[in-house]
Symmetry: C2
Subunit: 471 residues, 2 copies
């Protein structure tokens, strides 16, 4: 990242960028301590023979606590360099000693070093088209068979999949689609229900608003009132000049930039809610402890609505004091690859109505979305495919999946919040943001998260026992 | 088929041809009575975006007995024109009145009229490469969502998948991979275990031999003794002339044709066992009732071994009296499309040892197989992929599948013969050949098959009740 300009939202569609940003994490350039880098050869296309190319998928191995025959804890990597997920995910390695587990972090294709066509991977649809969740699941399935053959003592080891956010969806799905390879999964913040037709697109905005409500009296109301102020200012040159100055934008705001500014702010509040961790963390960006509370304090303590909003904006983008100006022409985070996934099969509609949430009314517009995706990528979304492929809301035929959810996390709106059977177990963690249970333990963790982690470990122990009784 | 020459086996690899032949059926040129022809648009490639082409998948609908809200009985079509499967499958329509069921026969991509690229479909790997079971399952999944949206009263109808042989494998797999769309499956003669590493490749030959043993005292011994006689004759011009004459071959047998002749005969006996129905049937070819018994009678009643073998050969290829000569340079049956599937992902090894079976010792040679496939199709088999994709022998996470098996059927060697849970139910039918339970009822059906059909209907009734209790 350029240290003079902070990338912000160039939102051709607001929720696309939100999706992009939701799980991208800082990327390390060196091997994580304790982890060895390995590769497994996989097909570029597992499901047809028109393309017989193969590539090397990266995975990181930590055998510090592994005892022969112990379980394999496999993190099913999401949309980013896998090293970043090692840094932000403590649960696997913290749980490993109890079980003598081998810890593996598998990289998702088209991220980090796992590029099927190297630098050409993003060249055109012919190269990029194999970036799908189903292909990624098949990569992980091949990896598991490889591990069982090559890791000493692991031929009969139960494998448990772990993941957060999109990685959590993959963890759930791999148990659903390949249960012979995966004895159970911990799917944290796995919004497997956030697809067209099976979850109200406003639900996400409701949760985000609730998180702000709980973080400061009157905070959502102040944010809601900001939209008219911003739109009014946007109508005049002087007003836009004022906005440019207050938000320290890198480029002067033009009249037709107004939707971008609004979308960018909507995204900002949503991401605040997403990353509302109880301690200072560097997940999407460095933030203080309980950042929503901090933001709400700024928003409600300024007499002028806009000054409060601008102050909260600066908190997010300038917490470490590096940013000189804000560039709303760039996405918050997230690379090309996730933008592409969000334009193809990972269509997770989010909207707002301006009444039951603190946002302006922004409908979900599939036609406009599809058009924008086509212009950008020359592909059309297949918005209903994920529901067909991944069972919609009818997942009762699955088993051995823990769905953990933080109640501050807007993505929880599309997650499994109620247990569906003895082995499809939902855990809702009070005062927890996006997959907090997966992060390294911290003295500031709320009791709900400490309890959830203990429960998760006990369930896994039970599933390990059942596995050895039945295989 | 040319009425002057009967196509026989041009076996570049014996078991490939056996696979080809195992389910091909006669093709009708007109709509089946009671069935309407419909089409649904599906992606050529469901699992990536490198190819966004779509095509029209054909399905046949019979709503004679359908009552609003009744179940949908979906035959998951296998390797052939779907009309042939309507003719050879009576169970669905016979069971429909009891349940008020809608009967659908769905065609498998690349067969019949469901050609993704029309006449170009077989042109090269780029066009043919999308012929895989996983893509076909996705086609059927899309079809089910389409039916639920478009058939009156069917929005909440339970869907049951039916299939025999490869179609039975698809019926089992669609319940395993898409259980939200399929309430249960009847998978007859579904050799889902017939893959490298999970079933002994000799098992198939053992069952074939057993079927001959049960059909005539001394019959397998006579066949076993024939191989040396044939090989000895093959060593001299006079001997080969004799063989050409006895088998009424279209072309004089050359020395290097001998392996082809032997493979062709091995396949013949295996196919006899496969189609050993209790009444005259035209499944792969017109045959009398209990054809193995008829063949064994010919084999054992001739004093000369070879005369008996030749007589049984003529029974198979000349039952209707049309054939003038036999052409061993052609495969028994089966089109290009199944040859391709058998060379890519449907790798089902079969071998023989010449001791525990009545065949010459023919090992399973993956290297030679792969080479032959590459020469023919320019693709390499992925022999272990099916075990990864379809769960190997560890299918205990599945539910609501009936696996029915005929004990005369060599393919039963790779099928599920023992119930694995209350809802993974195996039925073994005594005196039944390849998926006899699916064929139209016949007074000559053995009691085991009558009983199996009743049991199957009762289980489906139970699953329908459970479906309505839980949805």
């Amino acid at each position: 990242m350029d240290d003079q300009r902070v990338s912000l939202a160039s939102l051709f569609l607001v929720y696309l960028v939100l999706s992009e940003g939701r799980c991208s994490v800082g990327v390390g350039s060196r091997d994580e301590p304790g982890y060895k880098t390995r590769y497994v050869e996989v097909q570029v296309d597992h499901f047809s023979f028109a393309n017989s190319d193969t590539f090397q998928l990266r995975y990181l191995v930590n055998d510090t606590y592994y005892k022969d025959g112990g379980p394999i804890f496999l993190y099913t990597g999401n949309e980013g360099d896998i090293e970043g997920f090692v840094k932000n995910t403590g649960l696997l390695i913290e749980m490993a000693p109890r079980f003598g587990a081998l810890v593996i972090f598998a990289e998702h294709r088209y991220y980090g070093q796992s590029l099927p066509y190297g630098k050409e991977s993003f060249k055109d649809p012919a190269h990029l088209g194999y970036l799908t969740s189903t292909q990624a699941l098949a990569d992980f399935a091949v990896l598991i068979t490889h591990l069982k053959k090559t890791v000493p003592g692991a031929a009969n080891s139960p494998v448990f999949a772990f993941g957060g956010s999109y990685g959590g969806m993959l963890a759930a799905w791999i148990r659903m689609k390949y249960p012979h390879l995966v004895a159970g999964s911990l799917a944290s913040a796995a919004s497997i229900f956030q697809y067209p037709g099976i979850t109200d697109c406003e639900a996400y905005s409701h949760v985000a608003t609730r998180t702000f409500q709980r973080s400061g009296a009157g905070c959502p109301e102040r944010i809601r009132s900001s939209w008219d102020v911003i739109q009014d200012l946007g109508k005049t040159d002087a007003g836009r000049h004022n906005l440019t100055s207050m938000f320290r934008l890198c480029e002067p705001l033009a009249a037709d930039d107004m939707p971008t500014l609004v979308n960018w702010l909507v995204n900002l509040w949503m991401i605040y809610a997403l990353t509302d961790y109880p301690y200072a963390a560097d997940f999407l960006t460095p933030l203080p402890a309980w950042p929503v509370k901090e933001a709400c304090h700024l928003i409600t303590s300024h007499e002028d609505v806009l000054s409060g909003v601008a102050a909260a904006t600066k908190l997010y983008f300038n917490f470490t004091g590096q940013a000189v100006c804000l560039d709303i022409s760039q996405p918050y985070y997230g690379g090309l690859a996730w933008q592409y996934q969000a334009c193809t099969e990972q269509i997770e509609p989010i909207c707002s109505d301006g009444v039951n949430d603190m946002f302006p009314a922004i409908p979900w517009d599939l036609v406009a979305f599809s058009q924008a995706c086509y212009q950008r990528w020359k592909v059309r979304p297949r918005p209903y495919w994920a529901v067909t492929e991944y069972w919609g809301r009818n997942i009762s035929a699955a088993s051995n999946i823990i769905f953990s959810n933080g109640d501050l996390d807007p993505w929880s709106a599309g997650c499994v919040l109620k247990s569906l059977s003895d082995s499809l177990i939902a855990i809702v963690m009070e005062d927890a943001a996006h997959h907090l249970d997966l992060r390294p333990s911290n003295p500031a963790d709320p009791p709900s998260v400490v309890k959830a982690r203990a429960q998760e470990a006990d369930i896994i122990e039970k599933w390990i026992q059942e596995y050895h009784l039945t295989t």
